[in-house]
Symmetry: C2
């Protein structure tokens, strides 16, 4: 499945869970598009869901329960995931809070930093550790996903050490190119790139 589709599937999964909680048992592609504030068209929704093998019934829409289950299956959200956060500054704090509040399947299982004022403090029951025993702590905590929120010069070493600790996928925010051997999956996030989507469309609109 191509990457752009997955965040959309995640948005559907989230919205459908909310619809279910509010008592609905079926939904049309138009209803789902409306729930998403029309940030995704009903055409795109139908296309994505039929690519999963799910077809709505004309006049009826989709049954929510089986669709939520299928999306959870495809997204890997039928199991818990244990996340290691390295770099507990502004970004690390924002991510830790958001990730756990947003998706109960994501558990923050370890947090690392080098700042003395942070080490030893507790966040939601997790004690911030210094990085000296990162590999062991990550392994013992069973972390399968790592989040890198350290300054750029520290990113590569952090990535290698997370991989040694058994982490199999990394979300990297540091503005640095990471080199890791397969099978570790790395996804680089650059929010300035997201801003450039806005500036592209603003200048295209003026053109």
């Amino acid at each position: 499945m191509i990457d752009p589709a997955i965040p959309r599937l995640y948005a559907y999964h989230r919205a459908l869970r909310e619809a279910k909680v509010s008592g609905k048992s079926t939904i049309t592609s138009h209803g789902l598009a409306a729930m998403l504030g029309h940030s995704i068209s009903s055409t795109q929704i139908r296309k994505d869901l039929s690519a999963l093998g799910t077809l709505g019934r004309r006049g009826f829409g989709y049954a929510i329960d089986p669709l939520v289950e299928q999306l959870a299956f495809v997204l890997g959200l039928e199991q818990d995931w244990r996340v290691a956060i390295v770099g507990f500054g502004y970004l690390g704090h924002a991510l830790a809070t958001f990730i756990t509040s947003r998706e109960s399947r994501f558990k923050i299982a370890s947090i690392f930093d080098v700042a003395p004022e942070l080490i030893g403090t507790a966040w939601q029951g997790i004690v911030v550790a210094d990085t000296s025993n990162m590999e062991t702590i990550v392994q013992d905590a069973g972390c399968n996903i790592g989040v890198i929120a350290v300054p750029a010069p520290a990113a590569q070493a952090t990535a290698s050490r997370l991989a040694s600790g058994g982490v199999r996928a990394i979300l990297n925010f540091a503005p640095a190119t990471l080199h890791l051997r397969a099978p570790v999956i790395v996804r680089n996030i650059d929010l300035a790139g997201e801003m450039s989507i806005l500036t592209h469309w603003l200048t295209a609109a003026d053109a």
Copy 2:
């Protein structure tokens, strides 16, 4: 141009500027892929650049200068952009620092919060304002882009007020659906969706 291509173009733009600074005047698609840590294939690079009307010369590659200019043009990075940040907590701080350090075309021109301990403090010469005069301040500061980093319940009001102040595009991080009239462009960021790309691929790998 479709959205997924734009962050790639932004990555090329950034890497090509670095290549130029390091003294290069030409680069091949393979060289550029290597600079990007092979997070994007050389095939994808050639595809994206030819879609812009730029073809490399076999054995020679691409001339960097004209390519950087063309990418800047397409991305809207030939002009400065003035950014309003609303919500100066953990995420707001991380974004303000990162955006300006990453892309000199993005200027933080106004910052808003409601917390008394933040209001009146200065960040890189910008005084954090309370939200009561947001529309006026945003207009006077000439902000064309807004970043929403407030809690979900405050997001819609924030968006409407930024739009009233003349903001034409919004990057929204709050987990809330925004309703705004055209022509304001809204882009919603959900980093839990990025995490689900990792969990999708990890479970697909196991399957």
